[in-house]
């Protein structure tokens, strides 16, 4: 049982919530903000470059964005752990639900495995491609495809995390997250199912830059993520300061 000394209660404690949880809750949007800048503005993987270009075109892509890819992805290598921290926060809130730990551990497992193909591989592939601009164009092309397909096409790890999140919310009686968030997590699974098609199509609506497989999915993900940021803040505020620490 936690024994709180006065100095440990933050000035904002009147709003409810624990100080360390608040730290992580603020870190969550901050990290995704930096991540967004890296992937959209610096490394140009979102919106994704075209799949239907020749090896020479891919080499030209790396030549054109050489410096920003190196800056952006090197920073991401340092900040990579932020993905784990944000997912750990969600797992923490899931552990507070009335449904026990199984779903929280499922989320934690799915997401920590997913961080490797989902974030790390594209980072490493693009940096390796930028590392030697004089590499055989066929190999640069391989790194481009490998990076983009692992980044956009890591499906199962995230699907299982969304699934256990949805089930946990639906069964939960502690009202940590509202029920509608469970349903919109199911949309995420649907978009992941559609994303399977990017392994088949080199162009068109189902390619990795396609209107359905990418653009619609990214809108749905943004809605989901935005909702999660708001709901994590609400969940943090609703947690009693004197609640016993999680076991």
């Amino acid at each position: 049982m936690s024994v709180l000394t006065p100095e440990q209660v933050s000035p904002t404690a009147t709003d409810g919530g624990k100080r360390d949880v608040w730290w992580m809750t603020w870190f969550f949007p901050a990290w995704y903000g930096v991540f967004g800048v890296i992937i959209c503005l610096l490394t140009r993987v979102t919106p994704p470059p075209r799949p239907d270009v020749t090896a020479a075109g891919k080499v030209a892509f790396f030549a054109q964005h050489h410096l920003t890819i190196q800056i952006g992805f090197t920073v991401l290598l340092v900040l990579l752990g932020g993905a784990a921290m944000t997912n750990g926060l969600v797992a923490y809130q899931m552990k507070r639900m009335s449904v026990g730990s199984a779903f929280a551990y499922g989320y934690l497992g799915g997401m920590s495995v997913g961080a490797i193909p989902g974030f790390l591989l594209v980072t490493v592939c693009f940096l390796t491609a930028a590392f030697r601009p004089d590499r055989n164009p066929e190999l640069t092309s391989l790194l481009y495809d490998l990076g983009m397909l692992s980044y956009n096409g890591s499906l199962g790890c995230f699907s299982v995390a969304y699934l256990v999140l949805a089930i946990a919310i639906l069964y939960d009686r502690n009202e940590i997250f509202p029920k509608w968030f469970a349903y919109i997590s199911i949309w995420q699974i649907v978009t992941e199912v559609i994303a399977t098609q990017m392994f088949v199509f080199g162009s068109g609506p189902f390619a990795w830059n396609g209107s359905i497989a990418f653009w619609l999915a990214v809108v749905v993900f943004s809605v989901w993520l935005g909702a999660l940021i708001v709901l994590l803040r609400r969940a943090a505020a609703a947690e009693p300061v004197d609640a016993p620490a999680l076991d």
Binding site: P178, K179, W180, Y183, I184, W187, Q197, F206, I212, L216
Partner: protein, 192 residues
């Protein structure tokens, strides 16, 4: 039906089912609208190709499946009325019948897919790539709907858990599956 309809004015307005489910349903409708519009844009770029591909669809199966889903939806709507009237035995039977309709739909759809693939209409044709993905996502929704109906049956069988809003919530989802199919039927099978 307009707002001046006497039937609507007599009864106070109530949200059928759970607001959380409505968030899901409305969002899903918006996402599917996105799929439909993108499909139409690709169609307008290759009208002839799409029209000829459409001609290879099996309209008999299409109509049958539409009637099956409409009937299933109707039965579930009647089940909600039965729950409100306190006839739980009847409503359980009706929901189960609705579920049977969903299963029949999936079986027919599976047969349709198999025969299309056997006939060489794979996703290398743009129309069929849309056809498989959109009907596949819809099929996933049917599957989720069957789970929803299953949960509903469990609740209806438990005297402590028989709540009309629960039935309305499940029915709302199931009707959305029906609604989306009706539009898929029009866009993929019927329009020229």
């Amino acid at each position: 039906m307009t707002q001046t309809d006497p039937a609507t004015q007599l009864e106070s307005t109530t949200l059928p089912g759970d607001i959380n489910m409505w968030v899901m349903v409305l969002g899903d409708m918006v996402i599917f609208a996105g799929y439909f519009v993108i499909f139409m844009i690709y169609r307008s770029m290759n009208r002839q190709e799409f029209l000829h591909a459409q001609q290879h669809l099996n309209i008999a199966i299409g109509v049958t499946n539409t009637v099956i889903l409409l009937t299933s939806s109707w039965v579930v709507a009647l089940a909600v009325q039965a729950v409100r009237a306190g006839e739980f035995e009847k409503s359980t039977r009706l929901v189960l019948a609705g579920g049977v309709g969903g299963i029949a739909f999936m079986v027919l759809k599976g047969y349709e897919w198999a025969s299309k693939i056997a006939a060489g209409h794979t996703n290398s044709e743009t129309f069929y790539s849309f056809y498989y993905v959109i009907t596949g996502v819809h099929l996933l929704h049917v599957l989720i709907g069957l789970i929803v109906l299953g949960v509903l049956v469990r609740e209806l069988r438990n005297p402590a858990k028989r709540r009309p809003w629960m039935a309305e919530t499940g029915a709302t989802y199931w009707h959305m599956v029906d609604l989306l199919w009706v539009i898929i039927f029009a866009l993929f099978y019927v329009m020229r």
